[in-house]
Subunit: 353 residues, 2 copies
DNA sequence: TAATTGAGGCCCGTCTTTAGT
DNA sequence: CACTAAAGACGGGCCTCAATT
């Protein structure tokens, strides 16, 4: 009786020790490992009888193939890597949620890495993904050209979809149509008789902030109104409320506001708008009455603010899902050219403007 | 010249094809694979000269051990699994951020799975973690006893730390001291001459909501004031603002509010408080003047609301880090009894109360 | 004898090749 | 010659044990 390790003859789903392996299943089903392997891959070319016995054995033993063994021999894993600047920012958190959900539907697992806007951390994260032989990477690149070469090289050997960012032209990306959305928001303000100034996000992303600014400028030019952009900081930060608060308060107290004749403030993000509203009140202006405020993104709380925030809702979930679909499409071989998608959301008019 | 696959003699870090393997490094360094392996493990017992040559070869070839091969042979991976109800909820997003950061420092990767409060999804996620042979799991369990047996069984074969939750007594967990924090918040309101009612979170977690309620009740009893708890829903939802808005508006319009004589509202979460403030205004009450409102968690935006929200800050980052430290400690062998930590944060008094 | 290094089996699957009906 | 199933060589490391100095 030279049964190996696990006595398959026991029959019950009691593994004596260690995880159940394909060997155990084969033994119980009375076939070879190769046959069980085939069952888990194409499944074709197996006699119904054989298939049934394997199925039964798997159920009985609670067998699941070891993903590491599979990845090792295949040279590819069923893991997708997600590299984000931070994960506790509403936009990224929601994107991650959508990605995770879609990945689950595709039978993949997701592993995350945060770069904190540091090119070195980003590079390290990408190297990890490479060593993990991931099926693909969803990357929100940091706003720096430092990893440009590395990225170009990595794109050769693994799938990379850029989410809400890109670092060069020949890449796959998925993002909101920022120019269009901010233009729409600006036009809305102009249409209500306002003269909107613009507060952009700190330089933590690329090229979304630039695109949104472009949208604002475009709408202003189109209306023949001189644009008015609040001075931006070069210090990257994710504390948008504080950033918005400080910059708007400076703007108001410096008198630049009065001189400009602006009656509204379009903000690159809802979080900035929240800080801006706070600054206005500190200065003695009532948002929605003395000055109109608008944001961008439509956070879950935006509808419940006082006043409810006029904003632009971008379809973050769709963006996340599209990123996964891009990877999926490329895995399926069909390399039908670049995958580039721009999503449009919708204006959400509320009382703040 | 029978060099295998990659001609190590080439010397340059140009892999002709396929990833660099330990075999390549060994060849270039003029040692055996076994020696290179030892270099990557303990590292002891290697002649300085040998070590240097290996080091050099690794650098030259850009070699990184294949994590799948390592996991396969070791039967353990350097991956930690994180299973959360949702990832786009500020509390979890921040916890995840801290976990990811700490994991990186420990040289581990993190893989995530969302359960969406569905016991079946949670079970599936855990089985995935098991098959991945993760180094450990950080789990925020869904509020259901359905997976109790499964969890007990899984705890036998892998490390599980419960974050902000637990399903039975003999487990490791890390969480805020909810009873204490809500008691502190309630005492603060009482101390300011208020009679606070309480709005708890929907039943999406366990046991945090129960503990917070207990804290409220404790403080009220202690002050000899009759507690007043708003009716709770049995429908789980993560849309806290809407939930808070609806329940508070009902409470106000039904007249229950007047009859109760409550002058303040303590909420189980800031997001609930935001919905509550909105409802108050809809009803004609000015939060912070006609009725005091307090939350719990101190979201980044809470300081910028109007009025700024009085709340209790829980140390989410510390909780996340502690979860990782728990896993780390257990990996290091020392099974020094159960690891259970309660963290305390601090009251953040602001204008809303 | 102690300190290093090498040989080869093994982990758990996949995949190509060979054998059996 | 179809179909099916089995055999056995990997894949990239770790680990035990023996060989070398």
């Amino acid at each position: 009786m030279k049964t190996a390790k696990n006595a398959a003859s026991a029959g019950r789903s009691q593994e004596s020790r260690g995880p159940v392996t394909m060997h155990d299943v084969a033994a119980l089903a009375g076939v070879s490992r190769a046959t069980v392997s085939k069952y888990f891959n194409d499944g074709e070319g197996l006699k119904p009888d054989t298939r049934a016995r394997i199925e039964q054995a798997c159920r009985e033993l609670d067998y699941v193939p070891d993903p590491h063994a599979v990845s090792l021999v295949r040279g590819r894993s069923r893991i997708v890597g997600v590299v984000l600047p931070v994960v506790n920012e509403p936009f990224f958190a929601e994107a991650l949620r959508a990605i995770e959900q879609k990945a689950k539907a595709l039978g993949m697992d997701v592993i995350i890495q945060c770069s904190y806007n540091d090119p070195a951390e980003e590079a390290a994260a990408l190297m990890t993904m490479r060593s993990m032989k991931v099926a693909g990477v969803v990357l929100t690149a940091v706003a720096s050209r430092q990893n440009l070469d590395l990225l170009r090289r990595l794109e050769q050997e693994m799938r990379i979809v850029y989410l809400d960012s890109f670092v060069h032209e020949d890449c796959d990306y998925v993002m909101n149509d920022n120019r269009q959305s901010m233009a729409m928001l600006t036009r809305y303000l102009l249409g209500r008789g306002h003269r909107p100034a613009y507060l952009g996000a700190p330089p933590v992303a690329h090229p979304s902030p630039t695109e949104r600014l472009a949208g604002y400028l475009e709408a202003m030019a189109e209306a023949g109104v001189a644009p008015l952009v609040l001075p931006a900081s070069t210090q990257p930060t994710w504390d948008f409320e504080a950033y918005g608060f400080r910059h708007v308060l400076d703007w108001l107290t410096s008198g630049a506001w009065q001189r400009s004749g602006a009656t509204a403030l379009a903000c690159g993000t809802d979080r900035l708008a929240i800080g801006a509203m706070s600054a206005c009140r500190r200065f003695g202006l009532e948002p929605g009455k003395d000055i109109a405020i608008a944001g961008h993104d439509d956070l879950p709380i935006s509808a419940y603010l006082h006043p409810p925030l006029t904003t632009f809702r971008q379809d973050v979930a769709a963006i996340g899902v599209a990123a996964m679909e891009c990877l999926q499409a490329q895995l399926d071989g069909a390399d039908a050219g670049p995958y580039r998608k721009r999503f449009t959301g919708g204006l959400v008019p509320r009382e703040s403007a």
